[in-house]
Structure formats: C-alpha cells, structure tokens
Symmetry: C2
DNA sequence: CAGCAAAACAACGTCATCGTGATACTGGGT
DNA sequence: ACCCAGTATCACGATGACGTTGTTTTGCTG
C-alpha cells in the first residue's frame, strides 16, 4: 500500500505526465523531450530520472545522446482509465449539484 | 493534464488508499473507518472530505452518523491495474540488474 | 434543555517536492 | 588535446501536503 501510493505519485505531476505523453510516440532523446514539452532541460532530466527509477521508462545512451523509452505501454491504459474515471467523477458531481438545486 | 495529475494525486497517499480500502466492502461511517484503519478521527475525516471533493466517495448522513460510500467501484480496477504495473516495473528492474551482473 | 457521542473544522509545525540557475560531467568531432 | 552539444547534478527558495492537538458543530437521548 505504501509502495502503491508511491507509484501513483509518479503520475500525480502535470509536467511528468507531459514528459510521458511526449514519449507516447516512441523513444526520444532528452533534448527532443525538452522541445516537445517546453520544459527546462534540468527539469526534464529530473523527471526522466524519476520515471526511470520508477521503472516506467528505460534509459538508453546512443552515442552522445540519451534516449528514453516507455517500457510497458500499458501505462497509457492506466492513464486512459484514470481519465475516464475523472470524467465520470465530474459528471457525478454535476448531478449531485443538480439534485440540490 | 493538470486535472489528471490532481486525480492521480488522490491515490498517491498511503492513508488515503487505506481509507479507500476500508470502504471496499461497502458503506461505512467515519468511526468504522477509524477503527478499520487505526488512523486518527481528524485525519480520516480530512481524507474522506478530499475523496468526496474528488468525486470518488459519496457522503450520506444517517441520523447522527455519516456514512461514506465509493461511488464508482471501478476505481478499484484502476488500483488493481496500478498494482499490476508496479509489479511489472519491479520485475523489469530486477531483470535490468541481472543483465548488468 | 442538558449532556453526550460523532463528525468537522482551525491553526500550527514539519517535511517533501517542485522548478530554477549555475555548475559539472560525457563523448564525439576537429 | 580541446571544444562543444547533450545530459546530469547541486544548492537553494518557495510552495503545498500531511498529521496532530484542541475546539466547535451537529443531532440524538434522557
């Protein structure tokens, strides 16, 4: 339960999600992720390190570049499921509000 | 993306997950959750409020008690999926380690 | 109405995380 | 050997979340 919370925490940061989203199409090196997301280089590096430690992403140096790649693409299913639940929750909240008014 | 991160954050806290887990079996009042989790009353109340605001849980006063219930049980599917990914990530990390040694 | 248990709220200290700016490391090309 | 682009790391300040303690509200009961 402790560990599970930590795992969820990985996805609980907008910029980290943006980095992941940038990697949806396939492997990218750090600079490419920087360009795609508009985040600072230091920040992207940090988030990629976290994602690597979490086992979500794999680091692969290639010459002087370093490519990162999503290991198990089913993380995007997790994200999709969360998006679905989020929408449902929003709907539910509106319904609850309507029931009061 | 902003909102999605916030949603993930709901599940990124061990005690909050414990509260949710306590509610897996069905509706419970606050004191029951306190007993099941061993957390302080104030803390349980706080987490339940958060879960309510997030639209994960529904508040239903009944007499002098207040019952809370998980609205959409498929949140447990989300949790299950995350557990699965967590295990896979752990396995992958071990493999990567073995490849080095 | 007084008293009591359940639940919520407020204020506070503490700790973790985020993002930045500056600096170090690394490998390839000249 | 040197320089440069790419990447990683460090130190720092700011912000926000967590948990606790103490207090307040609420609704039942006698």
């Amino acid at each position: 339960m402790e560990a599970l919370a930590e795992y969820f925490k990985v996805f609980s940061e907008p910029n980290r999600l943006a980095v992941l989203e940038a990697l949806r199409g396939g492997p990218l090196n750090v600079t490419a992720v920087v360009d795609k997301t508009g985040l600072s280089q230091a920040l992207v590096s940090k988030h990629l390190k976290l994602l690597t430690i979490a086992g979500v992403v794999q680091r692969r140096p290639e010459g002087s570049l370093v490519f990162y790649e999503v290991i198990d693409k089913s993380v995007f299913k997790l994200i999709g499921q969360a998006e679905k639940l989020l929408l449902a929750a929003r709907r539910q909240q509106l319904d609850a509000l309507a029931a009061i008014l």
